[in-house]
C-alpha cells in the first residue's frame, strides 16, 4: 500500500530545504468527496497533503497554470516546482516536456503508483451505494477501497467503482519520476485497452451520428473539458479571440474579416466543430486521464471521442503518447509504412 506519510515527509523536506518553490498536490475539499488540487508553499501546510482514490485530477494542468501565473507576476524564482503525479499525470508531464513546454530541470516529479487500483468514479460509487452518501474514501489493500458513509466504513472491490480510464490504464506506475512511491504493479489485467471505443465503432454509422448529435446538442460550451486538459495550453483557443491584436492602425475591415471559425452559439454544428477540433488537436497527445469526461456537467462521453485517435496512434502508428519525452510527436513525424491505401 502507498505510504502517504512518506510522501508528506518528502514534500516537507523539499520545502524545508527550499529546493523547490512549491509542491503541487492534493488536499481534502470542503465541497465533497473528491480531493482539491492545492499548491503547498510552506513546510507546515504540507500537513494537509493527502493521497488516495479521491485524488482524481490531473496535476500536470497545474504545471501549465503555474507557468502562466509566473509569467503574469514576472517571478524570477528559478527553483523547480514539485508535483505529485500518478501514472497518467506523469504521462501528461512527459508530453509537455516533449513539446518543450518547460524544461525537465524546472520540475520535480513525485511519482505515486496506482498499484493495483486507480481512482474512484463518483457515479459508479453512487450507483453502488444506492442513495447513501460517501464522505470519505481510501485505499484498502491492493484491490479495494474503504468507503465511509453515515452507516460506517465498508470495503468495496476497487474494480467495481474505479474510473473507466483506470480499468483500461496501460501505465499505472509513473515512468517519469524523480522519486516514486508505491509498488510498480504492471499486471493489472483489468479491461483491454480501447475496449469502449472499439465497442462504439461496431455500431452502424447512422446510429453513431444520432448518438453524437445528441451529445453535441446537449453541450453547454462551458469549456470545462478544455480548461481541465493539461494539453489545452494554447495561448489562444480557436473558440476565443483574446489574442487578436487590435492596434491603432487595425482597420474596421480587418476586424470584420477576422476569421471566426466557431460561433459562440451552443448548437449542434458549432459544438460539433469545437469537440472535433479538440479531438484532432489531442491526437497523439491525449494520455487518457479522462478528466474532460469527468468534469462535463452533462456527462458527454468525451473520453470516447478523444481516445478514438489515441487508438489509431497506438495501433496504426505504434505511438504511445507520454512514453518518451525525446521522441518526435505523432503529427511531426511519419513513416514510409504509414497507411496509403485510403488515398486515391
Amino acid at each position: 500500500m502507498i505510504d502517504v506519510a512518506a510522501i508528506k515527509a518528502h514534500a516537507k523536506a523539499l520545502l524545508e530545504k527550499g529546493t523547490v518553490r512549491a509542491v503541487i498536490g492534493y488536499r481534502n475539499s470542503t465541497a465533497g468527496l473528491l480531493a482539491e488540487p492545492f499548491v503547498f508553499t510552506g513546510p507546515e501546510s504540507v500537513d494537509d497533503l493527502i493521497y488516495g482514490p479521491s485524488c482524481v485530477q490531473n496535476l500536470a494542468l497545474y504545471l501549465v497554470n503555474d507557468k502562466k501565473e509566473r509569467a503574469h507576476h514576472k517571478s524570477d524564482d528559478a527553483r523547480p516546482v514539485a508535483v505529485v503525479a500518478k501514472g497518467c499525470d506523469a504521462r501528461a508531464i512527459t508530453v509537455l516536456l516533449q513539446e518543450k513546454h518547460f524544461l525537465r530541470e524546472a520540475i520535480h516529479v513525485i511519482g505515486v503508483s496506482c498499484e493495483g487500483t486507480g481512482v474512484v468514479d463518483t457515479k459508479k460509487l453512487a450507483r453502488k451505494l444506492g442513495g447513501k452518501h460517501a464522505v470519505e474514501i481510501d485505499f484498502d489493500g491492493g484491490e479495494a477501497f474503504a468507503v465511509t458513509t453515515a452507516d460506517g466504513v465498508q470495503s468495496l472491490p476497487a474494480a467495481e467503482i474505479m474510473a473507466e480510464r483506470c480499468l483500461e490504464c496501460r501505465g499505472a506506475h509513473p515512468q517519469l519520476a524523480d522519486i516514486a512511491f508505491g509498488e510498480a504493479k504492471t499486471d493489472r489485467a483489468l479491461h483491454t485497452p480501447f475496449q469502449a471505443v472499439k465497442h462504439k465503432m461496431k455500431e452502424e454509422q447512422d446510429n453513431r451520428w444520432s448518438f453524437w448529435a445528441r451529445q453535441f446538442d446537449r453541450c453547454l460550451r462551458c469549456y470545462a473539458c478544455r480548461s481541465v486538459c493539461p494539453m489545452c495550453y494554447c495561448e489562444e483557443c480557436v473558440v476565443d479571440s483574446i489574442q487578436f491584436a487590435v492596434l491603432p492602425d487595425t482597420t474596421a475591415e480587418e476586424k470584420a474579416n477576422r476569421i471566426k471559425w466557431i460561433e459562440r452559439s451552443p448548437n449542434r454544428s458549432e459544438s460539433a466543430m469545437y469537440h472535433m477540433v479538440r479531438a484532432i488537436h489531442l491526437a497523439g497527445r491525449c494520455i487518457d486521464c479522462a478528466e474532460c469526461e469527468r468534469v462535463c456537467p452533462v456527462n458527454i462521453p468525451l473520453r470516447l471521442l478523444n481516445t478514438r485517435l489515441e487508438m489509431e496512434a497506438f495501433e496504426t502508428f505504434d505511438y504511445n503518447p507520454g512514453s518518451d519525452m525525446n521522441a518526435p510527436t505523432l503529427t511531426s513525424s511519419f513513416k514510409d509504412t504509414d497507411p496509403n491505401s485510403f488515398i486515391r
Binding site: R208, A213, W261, E270, V277, L305, L309, D338, N340
Partner: protein
C-alpha cells in the same frame, strides 16, 4: 431536433458542392492541365490552392463542412514528390486521423477524400473529381455538420 432523418438521398437535380484543397505545386497545376486539355468533368469542385498538402489544417476541413460543403477533397503530390520534401507525408498522417475521426462521429465515409495528383495528371484529376461527385450525389446533401442558418 429530429434532423437525423433528413437524408434526402438522390434528390433530383442535386449538384453537390465540393471544396477541393489543392497543392499549388501539383494538384492545382493538374487541375489547370485538365482545364487546358478541355477534359469534360463536373464543375462541382471549388478549388482552393494551398501551398502544400502538409499545410492543410484539419480546421479547414471542419469549417468547409460547417459552411455547407457536401464533400471535401485534399489533393497533394505523390509520395516522394513533395516540393518541400516531406510535407505530403505529414499530410498523409494528419488527413488519415481526420478521416477516422469524421467517420467515428458518423459523417458518411465518402464525404472526405484525399488523392495524389501530380501536375502532369490532368486526366487523373478529372477522374478523381468525377468519381467523387458521383459518390457524393448518391449520399445527397450534407446535413450533419452543416450550420443551421
Amino acid at each position: 431536433m429530429a434532423n437525423v432523418q433528413e437524408t434526402a438521398k438522390d434528390e433530383p437535380g442535386f449538384e453537390p458542392k465540393i471544396v477541393a484543397f489543392l497543392c499549388k505545386w501539383c494538384s492545382s497545376a493538374g487541375s489547370d492541365l485538365a482545364g487546358v486539355s478541355r477534359l469534360q468533368y463536373p464543375s462541382n469542385a471549388v478549388p482552393i490552392t494551398i501551398m502544400c498538402s502538409g499545410s492543410m489544417s484539419p480546421m479547414f476541413v471542419l469549417s468547409a463542412f460547417n459552411k455547407g460543403a457536401d464533400g471535401v477533397l485534399v489533393s497533394g503530390c505523390h509520395p516522394g514528390d513533395c516540393h518541400y520534401l516531406k510535407g505530403n507525408f505529414y499530410a498523409r498522417r494528419k488527413i488519415y486521423l481526420v478521416q477516422k475521426l469524421l467517420q467515428f462521429i458518423g459523417l458518411e465515409n465518402d464525404r472526405f477524400r484525399m488523392s495524389w495528383v501530380s501536375a502532369a495528371e490532368g486526366v487523373k484529376f478529372a477522374g478523381v473529381v468525377d468519381e467523387f461527385v458521383k459518390d457524393v450525389k448518391k449520399l445527397g446533401p450534407q446535413t450533419r455538420l452543416k450550420a443551421k442558418r
